[in-house]
Amino acid sequence: MSIIIKGLNKIYPNGNHALKDVNLEIPPGMFGLLGPNGAGKSTFIRILVALMEPSSGSINMYGYDILKEREQVRKIMGYLPQDFRFFAPYKTYEFLDYAAMLSGINSRRERKERVDEMLRSVGLYEVRDRYANKLSGGMKRRLGIAQALIHNPKVIVVDEPTTGLDPEERIRFRNLLTKAAGNNVSIILSTHIVGDISSSCNNMTLLNKGQISFVGAPEELIKKAEGKVWRAIVPDEIFQQINEEYPVITTIPVANGWEIQVVSETPPCEGAELFAPNLEHAYVYFIDSKFDLWRKG
């Protein structure tokens, strides 16, 4: 079973064509949705979690048509929105209990067990009586993932979950997701942080300007960037020139200028040597507009 998206389009009333003929199949496991700001990720996610209607196209989620069987879709889905900071005055425990109730866990005893279990698993049990608003940023995210997982959903959609978290919390959060993905669950992780994808997703897609640029494993994406990443040590004047023409990935100051990594089809300067690409290089190769222009030009 998987999520099959066909011919998905979204045109806003102001004419903005946010999604253009998106076709995608999302298998179980961690699935990364990578794209720059404004690529249409949030629109895509909101359509996926049935908060927004597409202009056209279809989504089949584990056998349910998202347009016609929203209730069923909502039953198998957990969602953690991008901004998850401001709460009504609920206590941590209550927030989860409310989510559990609405997710269909009717039995009080079962709900209590489930809420306690989730609180323990996300490390919030000790603060269960604290008002959710008083939790730290990381704790709020953990509470967010706890509420998304509370009813053992088949599909979990997380939108930019690690933004603003410190490295420790980010790692903790990724581990939580990875653990959840182990149970034949589809986790769609929307992010613009490449590291989140590379460290946790077996499949991914690249969304750019409302269109799918790439679908596949992160390694495949990296492979596509082989021979396109160059390293060079250049003086300041050359660096300025390269920076204007090519996407420069890293710049490290050295004794006689700059050590730079550049994405380019051809050597960007004299003395440039090929460098083994990583996901970030690949992402830039596919997304960067300068490169795109240069590539087309």
Binding site: V49, A50, L51, M52, E53, R70, E71, Q72, R74, K75, M77, G78, Y79, L80, P81, Q82, D83, F84, R85, F86, F87, A88, P89, Y90, E94, F95, Y98, A99, M101, L102, S103, G104, N106, A132, G144, Q147, A148
Partner: protein, 1093 residues
């Protein structure tokens, strides 16, 4: 399928959120605490009697109060929910849960509702505790549930629904809040009970008071009215679900939600139409009844000699038979009777022969086979059954007055004129529960009012063990009550209820009291008085009889407790209201509307006063109880009941005196005197007003700017009595009749003296008691004894338009020592400024409380000197100008300084013609004169203008004087202290910085030195607020050049002319300008005077 689990989940957490909000906590505190404190204070100090007299009022009171608060708070909290959903990103995680939009919104609604419901329960708990702590008030459990369901639930559902919907629509909480607050304010303070309570979504004005005897008399309209708001609330909630910014689980559900909303809107619309149409139908029915009365009023009638009624009480109807015997008043074949249109006539027979009849609504037109002769004896038997159509009652009362809510404090009482329920029955003559000759009220034909003293006999079979009460000696034979009045009556009434009777025979009179079982709250409290009532009651009776100059003519007197809803209205043709009947007074449930009936509280306070020594001397408890009882009994002799104050926007208000509906005076006068005139439906009223005139409440001028008598007076400038007879304004009509009554009989007083004439009137009444008297015949009798041409005056009195007016000077009193006796000569100079002659009365109050009345005529345009001679020194004078343009119409003067005169003899008491009233060289310009002008008023707000446009229909522009809130534009009021030739008025305005002014232009014909005076009226504000600077700023221009400023210190001048300065003035206009630049709250512009040196 709707999941109740989801609804309860949303509700649980919504109510938790509400409970945690400061707003709700503060509201809870602010609503419950005052309710608790109020209840506590009611236990320990004066409390409204109505609150405890009718136990259902205790929960009613609390629910009304809390409902206003929660209606406001619910708006905020409900709109907050939508705002919160859009503001908080965390709400989205709930939006992706599988609940439906319907479940979500219903859950939210229920969550809010249950918090408010718990608050309501707290309010009801307070009511219950208060209820339990008063020992003579029982708990009406049904009322607790009813008021909660009828007041609170529809209000909350409507307000929450409306707020949700507006918030979804407008998406701005501040705008929604402001809009809804404005809506609440407008409905509460402006619309009120207009349009038949249609906009009263809070049930604040709706008549919801529950009688302990009959419950709610009109429950269905109440339920339908509340259903309107419940339906609208549900419709708005459904629309909110429909418009909720969340994708629905199923598109079809959205359609169903929309259909539900439409259905509920339609349902509410149907209920609105039904609600309004039911009132229109009532109004139409009344119009129809009136038209039928007018149509048949000229038909032949049979004067009754006897009426024997046999009535069976049924659970929801009556079955009756009436045997009627009478004499035809004219020869005819068809004779008209009327009977309540709700009662169906089965048959009319005469000596066992069926008589054909036509039933046209209330009218029974009995058609004999042949024409009957005038004076022929007729026996008829009417067999009828059915219920009472209350629309037929009070056809003389305007729709507006009928629709007006009967409110006491916050309690609104549904009006009812008759009761037929399985446990209670009340039928008064107004309901026409038995056939009567002729028709009822018909403005087109005064003959409708003709009544006849009739011998009645009433037999009643009551349901179960209920007790029947009526006039006359009562006997019970085989469970049947038989009433045989020993006097002839004009009407008979009947009450049946679960009564217990308290009775006592003193002298020849049976005094009784019928109270509904368990309603007795006083016998234990006034236990000391039991043995002394036989002395106390005749004593009070004697006092009342002496004060009224009439004796109580019946052998029985009874107070009968009737449901609180029983409503009566003052009538144009009699002071008697339906609550007072021969021998009986129908007093509303536990006398809730008589404050003095709160025996416990009054006695408690009496004891308190006595303990503190505030009663002069130490009283025994017996004396205190006696005082409380006397105080209550004398209420039945009071003319006025309550005062009704209504406030207009801008601070001005009006006060209305409500006649005491329990006043027993009609038992002394109206039920023994039956005066009839073919031209005047008011014939009896004219005599009644002469014998017992309404007391003029002159102090009401302070509130209304003018008295109602003066308003009536001024109407005579353009209309005759006949034209004014049927005014919609009852208070005004009453004043009109009072004035005309005084005018009608004044020539009699003039001819033979006031006391002598009044004595002859009372003697005539006593001689003709319980007889049908012809008005013209009575007047001819007075014509005989006074040598007065009644017929000549009568047509002018009835049909001419006239209203004289007088300028009256201050009196000059001179003393003459005429040998052995002292002689005081008082001279009034009077100018009749109209083109019609007029009659005046001067009441001279002399030393040792002696009074002399002096009557005289002043011809049109004449200036006269009226000389009054007395042998004791006059102290004060009161001149009654009767119907005149004078305001005030009654003027009071002090005798002032008495000059001893030795150089001439006193004049002979008479009227002498003179040439002028004022001294030569004196020019006075009053604010009523053409030379007076005022500055344009600054514009006031549109809303204020809109609201201030209220008018009493008389076209008179006087306003009351509230020194705390003077008007923002120049306004006029009247008072005796102001200067005026025949209208003593003043212009007044809120003080300012000199931006507004009043100006007097005085034409100077002769150049010379003049003293300028200003009339100081003895202003209340100057007297009361001693700390305030009381100066007026004037600008005087004697020569048409730059005006000079002058200041007048009001504190240094008593009432009268105060010298402003001396000026040399040339020919032309001399102008005096008064500005509003004063430290006082208001400035008054009255009159200026120039006196040539």
């Amino acid at each position: 399928m709707i999941s109740f689990h989801n609804i309860s989940a949303v509700a649980k957490y919504e109510s938790r959120l509400l409970g945690r909000g400061w707003f709700f906590k503060i509201f809870t505190l602010l609503s419950i605490l005052p309710l608790g404190i109020t209840s506590l204070s009611f236990l320990n100090s004066f409390r409204p009697w109505i609150l405890v007299a009718i136990p259902a009022n205790i929960p009613y009171f609390n629910m009304l109060l809390i409902n206003v608060g929660q209606a406001i708070i619910a708006i905020f909290l409900a709109s907050e929910f939508i705002k919160r959903d859009t503001k908080l990103d965390t709400s989205e995680v709930f939006f992706v849960k599988p609940m439906s939009n319907t479940e979500y919104v219903i859950g939210k609604t229920w969550g809010s509702l249950r918090m408010f419901i718990s608050l309501n329960f707290a309010a009801l708990l307070i009511a219950f505790i208060f209820n339990s702590l008063i020992d003579y008030v029982w708990i009406d459990w049904g009322a607790y549930l009813f008021y909660f369901m009828a007041i609170s639930i529809p209000t909350l559902v409507f307000v929450i629904g409306l707020s949700y919907f507006l918030m979804i629509l407008l998406k701005n909480q501040a705008v929604v809040f402001a809009l809804l607050l404005a809506y609440i304010a407008i409905t509460l303070f402006y619309i009120g009970d207009s349009v038949y309570y249609l906009f009263d979504y809070m049930g604040f004005n709706l008549p919801l008071m529950k009688s302990d005897i009959v419950g709610h008399v009109n429950l269905i309209p109440i339920i339908l009215h509340r259903s309107i708001y419940l339906f609208l609330g549900i419709a708005f909630i459904a629309m909110t679900i429909y418009k909720l910014p969340r994708l629905a689980n199923n598109k079809n559900n959205t359609k169903y939600v929309l259909i539900t909303a439409i259905l509920f809107f339609l349902g509410a619309g149907v209920l609105v139409l039904h609600h309004i149409s039911s009132f229109y139908m009532k109004s139409n029915a009344r119009e129809n009844f009136l038209a039928i009365n007018n149509k048949y009023s000229g038909y032949a009638k049979i004067a009754p000699d006897s009426c024997f009624i046999n009535l069976n009480q049924m659970p929801r109807s009556i079955e009756a038979e009436m045997v009627f015997n009478g004499k035809t008043l004219e020869g005819a074949k068809e004779y008209v009777f009327s009977l309540n249109p709700g009662l169906t006539v089965n048959s009319v027979t005469s000596k066992s022969h069926k008589i054909s009849f036509i039933r046209d609504n209330q009218v029974i037109l009995v058609a004999f086979d042949k024409e009957l002769k005038r004076g022929e004896n007729v026996d008829l038997k009417f067999n009828y059954k059915g219920n009472i159509d209350q629309n037929y009652c009070y056809l003389d009362v305007s729709d507006k007055d009928l629709a007006k809510t009967n409110s006491v404090m916050l309690f609104n009482i549904e009006k009812s004129y008759a009761f037929i329920t399985p446990k209670y029955l009340l039928l008064t003559p107004e309901t026409a529960w038995y056939p009567k000759q002729g028709v009822s009220y018909s403005p087109e034909n005064p003959t409708w009012s003709q009544s006849h003293f009739t011998k009645y006999r009433l037999e009643v079979t009551a349901l179960d063990s209920l007790v029947a009460v009526s006039q006359g000696k009562d006997t019970i034979i085989d469970g049947k009550y038989i009433f045989e009045p020993d006097r002839q009556l004009m009407n008979i009434s009947l009450a049946i209820g679960d009564y217990e009777k308290f009775t006592m025979k003193i002298d020849t009179i049976d005094y009784s009291m019928w109270m509904i079982k368990n309603h007795d709250y006083f016998t234990q409290t006034l236990d000391s008085l039991k043995d002394t009532l036989s002395v106390v009651i005749p004593d009070i009776k004697g006092n009342i009889e002496r004060s009224r100059n009439l004796t109580y003519p019946f052998n029985r007197f009874g107070l009968v407790e009737v449901p609180a809803n029983f409503e009566t209205y003052p009538r144009l043709w009699t002071k008697a209201q339906e609550s007072v009947q021969p021998e009986l007074v129908f007093v509303c449930e536990r006398a809730y509307d008589i404050g003095r009936a709160d025996i416990h509280e009054n006695l408690r306070w009496m004891r308190e006063y006595n303990k503190n020594g505030w009663l002069g001397r130490d009283h025994t408890d017996f004396e205190l109880q006696l005082n409380v009882l006397r105080n209550l009994i004398y209420y039945f002799n009071d003319d006025n009941g309550e005062y009704k104050w209504s406030m207009k926007a801008g601070g001005s208000g009006t006060l209305e005196v409500i006649p005491n509906k329990y006043k027993i005076y009609p038992q002394l006068f109206n039920f023994r005197v039956n005066l009839f005139s073919s031209e005047l439906a008011f014939a009896n009223r004219l005599l009644e007003q002469y014998v017992d005139p309404d007391k003029s409440s002159r102090w009401m001028r302070n509130i209304n700017g003018i008295t109602v008598e003066e308003k009536a007076n001024l109407l005579f400038k353009e209309s005759s009595f006949r034209d004014l007879m049927y005014s919609d304004n009852k208070e005004l009509t009453n004043a009109i009749v009072t004035l005309k009554s005084a005018e009608l009989f004044m020539p009699g007083e003039l001819k033979i003296g006031r006391d002598e004439f009044r004595d002859s009137v009372f003697s005539y009444i006593n001689r003709n008691s319980f007889q049908n008297i012809d008005f013209e015949r009575m007047m001819l009798h007075f014509e005989d004894i006074t040598d007065w041409d009644f017929k000549e005056d009568y047509s002018m009195w009835l049909d001419s338009v006239y209203c004289p007016g007088y300028e009256i000077s201050e009196p000059i009193v001179s003393y003459f020592n005429n040998g052995d006796e002292d002689v005081y000569e008082t001279v009034f100079k009077i100018h009749n400024v109209s083109d019609i002659f007029g009659m005046l009365r001067i009441e001279v109050r002399e030393q040792q409380n002696q009074t002399t009345n002096d009557y005289f005529y002043v011809d049109a345009g004449n200036m006269v000197e009226r000389v009054i001679i007395t042998n004791t020194q006059p102290v004060s004078f009161e001149i009654t100008t009767n119907i005149s343009t004078n305001i005030p119409s009654t003027l009071s003067f002090r005798a002032g300084n008495v000059t001893t005169v030795v150089d001439r003899e006193p004049k002979v008491a008479d009227t002498y013609n003179v040439n002028n009233l004022e001294t030569k060289g004196v020019i006075i310009v009053d604010n009523e004169d053409p030379g007076f002008s005022i500055s344009e008023s600054e514009p006031i707000g549109l809303l204020a203008t809109w609201i201030l446009k209220e008018d009493d229909g008389t076209g008179l522009d006087f306003v009351g004087y509230n020194i705390w809130r003077p008007p923002l534009k120049w306004s006029k009021t009247t008072a005796p202290r102001y200067y005026g030739r025949n209208v003593r008025s003043v212009h007044f305005l809120k003080s300012g910085k000199g931006n507004a002014w009043a100006q007097w232009n005085i034409p100077i014909e002769e150049e010379g030195q003049y003293d300028l005076y200003y009339w100081v009226a003895g202003y209340d504000e100057v007297r009361w607020m001693r700390w305030k600077q009381a100066k007026y700023q004037f600008f005087v221009n004697a020569f048409g050049e730059e005006p000079d400023e002058y200041t007048l210190n009001l504190r240094r001048n008593d009432q009268g002319w105060a010298l402003l300065g001396t000026f040399y003035a040339g020919k032309g206009d001399f102008t005096v300008k008064l500005t509003n630049n004063t430290k006082l709250n208001a400035v008054e512009a009255d009159a200026v005077k120039l006196v040539k040196r």
